[in-house]
């Protein structure tokens, strides 16, 4: 390290007889002018500040000053080794929380190329909003219609509570404000974007706001009619199957479908399917054998050329 043996009193511009108070005043006056953080673009000021700070270090302290005045120590090595200044971080290229670009806000209002460049850099640097985080969340079909509360486990081990409103659709994205990564500086945090994935259901399918269900009924119920229990995503309801219903007959349960965007609910459409018992029924066989109507009726009438 190169050190110059200079008189600390001269550097501070005070007489060797100056009072401690005067020395402090002199130092403060110079330091306010020369502090590197108050002169971020001026290397000359930094050099001078080092000298001034070194000098003050020596004679600003009563004990050291006594030893210096008596010739016990000299100015060698008085220069303080300094790690770094605020400006070294503040002038770094990456963003930091203290970034403030308001100093040229007025320039940006004009329409020239310079202003555009400034705007672009301001956009990139200003207190940036946090990033959005994207998640996929598989849910049951019934949850998609009736709504649900789910808890998502995040990659970092945290959890996120998600309220699924009734009537969501496949691929729909729920936005949880402020649940993304924290913003830079005064920037708002990002959002969590949750894309819903609806698992197929064994019984229900959905088309628009209507829900379809194929419902098996017995021959007796089909022929004589019945009141039967029908599952819907929001619970079981009772429905009348009219006398003489057939496979493929579709009954409408009003308001039992998915909630509509426009308000109200879609319908559930129940398609009937007549199912015979798996075990052969001798009584039924005997009846059908003697059943005249069954022999004359041709359900394939329209198909025969």
């Amino acid at each position: 390290m190169v050190t110059t043996l200079t008189d600390p009193y001269k550097i501070l511009g005070v007489a060797p007889t100056a009072s401690a108070d005067d020395i402090q005043k002199a130092y403060r006056k110079l330091a306010k002018k020369l502090h590197p953080d108050l002169n971020p673009g001026n290397p000359e000021a930094e050099e001078k500040f080092k000298e001034v700070a070194g000098a003050y270090d020596l004679v600003g302290d009563a004990e050291k000053r006594k030893r210096f005045d008596s010739g016990e120590i000299d100015a060698t090595g008085a220069e303080r080794a300094r790690q770094s200044y605020y400006r070294d971080y503040a002038s770094a290229e990456q963003d930091h929380p203290y970034t403030d670009n308001s100093g040229f806000a007025d320039f940006m209002e004009s329409e020239d190329a310079l202003a555009e460049l400034l705007r672009r850099s301001a956009r990139a640097q200003a207190n940036r909003r946090g990033r959005d985080l994207e998640f996929r969340l598989p849910i049951e079909f019934i949850e998609s219609i009736a709504g649900a509360n789910k808890r998502l486990t995040l990659p970092d081990g945290g959890t996120l509570d998600v309220t699924i409103p009734p009537g969501v659709t496949e691929g729909q994205v729920l936005r949880l404000r402020g649940k993304g990564t924290p913003g830079a500086g005064k920037g708002d945090p990002g959002d969590a974007l949750i894309q819903l994935e609806i698992k197929p259901d064994r019984s229900f399918t959905r088309q628009g706001d209507d829900i379809y269900l194929e419902l098996p009924i017995s021959l007796t119920e089909a022929v004589l009619g019945a009141r039967i229990r029908v599952p819907t995503p929001t619970g079981t309801v009772t429905m009348s199957v009219p006398k003489g219903s057939n496979t493929g007959s579709t009954l409408r349960l009003r308001g039992k479908g998915a909630p509509k965007q426009t308000g109200g609910d879609g319908d559930q459409l129940v398609k009937l399917k007549v199912v015979l018992s798996k075990e052969p029924d001798p009584e039924l066989e005997a009846f059908v054998t003697n059943w005249e109507g069954g022999k004359t009726f041709n359900p394939r009438e329209d198909l025969t050329p």
Partner: protein, 96 residues
């Protein structure tokens, strides 16, 4: 480098209450969450600057706030100027 509140206090040689007051004044901005605040190198350098301004140079509270605001604006302008220089260099014809 990410520092906990305790590490930050000991490295910056400031008291718990002082830190609270500085954050209140928005002289320092803590990262992380409010339960678990975190600090970085730039916060240490800024805390040192605040201490030097107030203790070594005798600047009062109002003055420190004004200086920090202007210093931050100055850095903003310097950064923009650097970007501008970069952009002009990349444009062979310059502006116009």
């Amino acid at each position: 480098m990410k520092l906990s509140k305790e590490e930050f206090l000991s490295l910056s040689c400031i008291e718990h209450e002082t830190l609270g007051a500085w954050i209140e004044q928005e002289w320092l901005i803590q990262g992380g969450s409010s339960d678990e605040p975190s600090f970085t190198d730039i916060d240490i350098a800024r805390a040192r600057l605040i201490r030097e301004l107030s203790v070594d140079l005798g600047v009062n509270m109002e003055g420190v706030g004004i200086i920090l605001n202007l210093v931050d604006q100055l850095h903003g302008v310097r950064r923009t100027l650097m970007e501008l220089r970069k952009a002009v260099r990349m444009t062979p014809e310059g502006f116009g």
